[in-house]
């Protein structure tokens, strides 16, 4: 019997504005109106500056561990620019640029890293999920969220809403990533899976997280159309997302995108990347910086100049400083908050813990103590309650 081909495919790689400034007119012309381009550039610059502010906040003890987004601004921004306002955006933690474009307040992100859950109380109008720590688990939630939206039809906001979910090269090793791809493709759920391949998962190079030549091809196993793009090229990320979002919205089926980018900073402020990677590699990627690349293009097209750059820098500095002030100015959380937010209706037992701030029974039930000790116990509980307010 002659050997036949069971399956064959190829994966396209999109590059429109490269690091040398070459621009592909065929793919790029008219893709992003000039007015939008300027706004997008401002958004990337603002995100970069806030990243640097956040780094300094951590180093000066005003914020906890923080993962810099530096170098990856064009990935989530390209997606957010293309997605509809009410498409779910389910992210990891290096998608700040896209979240801010969607209108998520900057202080919400800052509050999260300042150890305050109120930063996660993402209001519905933004249709984003909060930052969570477990990696690779959120894509299943993206599938469920959009399946629910479609199930609810008009009540859920329309039958053509989709979800776009982000994860890294490292997270694509997690079991839940594979389960999410499998569920979305088999149950026909409209999710655009976006893998930000930034080459490093803390100190683990991406080649340890996949032995295949691309991350894009992970989607092939699940029957999804897959694309790869230069994630440091805003035109390429927009083009790729346009194609992907259109496909998913029209067919109701998932697809897969790999955006090739680079983590210019350390994994977080608690990491020291000089321990495991070469300066030469980092320098090579600095030359591919998405913001500088776009600025050079805009200058060449006379859309931008030094005085505009200076004005922008001043504007951004003030806006971001205001965001920090809002985050730091928030009233301290109540001690009762972490009890009251466990359930819709707090169990009696838990309420007793909240009201006494004790778990030991004699502290919770003063009537078990001898009479002379009871008054003191009641007073201490009253003080604990007063401290809630």
């Amino acid at each position: 019997m002659p050997i036949t081909t069971a399956y064959e495919t190829k994966i396209e790689r999109i590059s429109i504005l490269d690091e040398k400034g070459n621009f592909d007119e065929k793919l790029g012309k008219g893709l992003i109106p000039d007015a939008d381009l300027v706004k997008l550039y401002e958004a990337m610059s603002s995100c970069r500056q806030l990243d640097q502010v956040a780094f300094r906040l951590q180093r000066s003890g005003r914020m906890g561990t923080y993962p810099q987004n530096m170098g990856q601004e064009a990935t989530s921004l390209g997606a957010a620019y293309v997605l509809r306002k009410d498409d779910w955006m389910v992210t990891c933690y290096r998608e700040n640029c896209g979240l801010f474009w969607r209108g998520v307040p900057k202080e919400a992100i800052l509050l999260h890293w300042m150890g305050d859950e109120r930063g996660n109380a993402m209001p519905k109008p933004h249709w984003v999920t909060p930052i969570y720590v477990p990696l690779g688990t959120q894509m299943l939630h993206a599938a469920g969220l959009t399946m629910a939206a479609r199930y609810q039809g008009k009540a859920g906001g329309g039958e053509d809403r989709i979800a776009c979910t982000f994860f890294g090269d490292g997270a694509s090793s997690e079991g839940d990533f594979h389960e999410a791809c499998n569920f979305a493709s088999n149950l026909k759920i409209p999710v655009v899976f976006v893998c930000q391949n930034n080459f490093w998962a803390i100190s683990t190079p991406s080649k340890i997280n996949s032995a295949a030549p691309t991350f894009a091809q992970r989607g092939i196993a699940y029957g999804m159309p897959c694309m790869q793009c230069d994630g440091n090229d805003l035109f390429a990320t927009v083009y790729t997302m346009k194609k992907s979002v259109e496909y998913t919205r029209q067919t109701g089926l998932p697809c897969f995108v790999e955006m090739v980018t680079y983590r210019l900073g350390d994994h977080t402020t608690a990491d020291d990347a000089t321990r495991y990677r070469d300066k030469a590699e980092v320098d090579a990627w600095k030359a591919r910086d998405p913001i500088i690349r776009l600025r050079n293009y805009m200058v060449a097209r006379k859309l931008w100049d030094d005085s505009k750059e200076a004005a922008l820098a001043e504007k951004i500095e003030k806006e971001n400083a205001d965001a920090v002030a809002r985050a730091e100015g928030i009233a301290a959380p109540h001690r009762a908050d972490f009890f009251d937010s466990m359930y819709a209706d707090i169990p009696t037992d838990l309420a007793a813990q909240r009201d006494t701030m004790h778990t030991h029974s004699l502290g919770q039930d003063p009537s078990q103590l001898p009479p002379e000790a009871q008054e003191r116990a009641r007073q201490m509980s009253a003080e604990a309650q007063a401290a809630h307010h």
Partner: protein, 322 residues
């Protein structure tokens, strides 16, 4: 009023609540076309359609993760985990997300979800089909853990779970799925999550139990011939410590019975609370009749592992003689 077994009572509760609330959807392995390996969801896909009752790929973490997303998106999903032994792969989604979403987001996102899980031993099944992990989930803040012991309770508790805004693990004791029938009203009724039931009253000793073990306790009470008060906890978390306290203050003695292994089983928590609240009224230390601290054996030795009426009678007698 019909006489229903546990499977029928659960099936009826699902039908009635799904008719009232179109946001309830069922999902899991083999629950749609096949009606579930125990036939608990029999007929539901035909009745409500594939959009509301659907079969999933074989992946527990996926089932629960998808359900969490459905719940965050405004539905009330009822995923089934086919046997309690397969909760393992779903543990992260349950404990890192379902249990935490409300507190993590200060209520902006919540997870109204009811996970249905057949639980417990005694059906001569292969490994990981006979375990009792309720204590693990009772120890995870943010979840509710329910385990009925009878068809009447099962319907009332399930309806409450389906209306609860928070994630509920609804454990179904599989060895009593078809063991007996009792009167189950077709009319709507609920049983509150967090409230125990006094099965029978007594003065000499209190037994606290839940799930299928309640049957063994009833048999033991008859064999012992003593005046014993039996409390069926019904909800493991949040649990009805007030009912237990009132009873033990009356009787002065307590035996807790559960299939799950002894060490760190939920009986340990009950024992600690009784010690705290009834210290001066206790006539004897709280006794626990539980599974041994071993892996559940394969079914040839299953009955040597499970707490039976004989072991419970012995604990009653030792406790009374103290």
């Amino acid at each position: 009023m019909a006489n229903l077994n546990l499977v029928q009572a659960i099936n009826l509760a699902l039908i009635q609540e799904m008719e009232k609330n179109e946001n309830i959807v069922l999902l899991g392995e083999d629950i749609g076309v096949n009606g579930g390996v125990f036939r608990v969801t029999e007929g539901l896909q035909k009745r409500f359609g594939e959009k509301r009752v659907f079969d999933t790929p074989l992946a527990e973490s996926g089932i629960i993760g998808l359900s969490i997303g459905l719940a965050m998106g405004g539905l009330h999903p009822v995923p089934e985990i086919q046997f309690e032994g397969f909760l393992g792969p779903a543990y992260d989604q349950i404990c890192s997300h379902a249990a935490r979403m409300r507190s993590r987001t200060r209520g902006a996102f919540t997870v109204p979800m009811t996970i249905r899980i057949p639980v417990g031993g005694g059906i001569h099944a292969p490994e990981l089909h006979s375990d009792s992990p309720e204590a693990i989930y009772a120890h995870t803040p943010g979840l509710k853990v329910v385990m009925p012991s009878s068809p009447y309770d099962a319907k009332g508790l399930l309806v409450s779970a389906l209306r609860d805004p928070d994630p509920v693990l609804y454990f179904e004791p599989k060895r009593i799925y078809r063991a007996f029938r009792e009167e189950v009203p077709e009319d709507e009724y609920t049983l509150p999550i967090g409230k125990a039931r006094t099965v029978c009253e007594g003065t000499d000793l209190t037994i606290v139990s839940w799930g299928a073990s309640v049957i063994q306790c009833m048999q033991a009470i008859e064999k012992s011939g003593k005046s014993i008060e039996l409390i069926d906890l019904r909800t493991i978390y949040p649990f009805d410590i007030d009912a237990i306290e009132a009873s033990v203050k009356k009787t002065g003695r307590c035996v807790v019975v559960h299939e799950a292994p002894l060490t760190c089983g939920f009986g340990a928590e009950i024992s600690a609370r009784i010690m705290e609240r009834c210290f001066l009224q206790l006539e004897a230390p709280v006794q626990r009749v539980a599974g041994f601290d071993t892996t559940m054996p394969y079914y040839k030795l299953e009955l040597d592992y499970l707490p039976d009426a004989t072991r419970v009678v012995r604990a009653i007698e030792d406790c009374l003689a103290y």
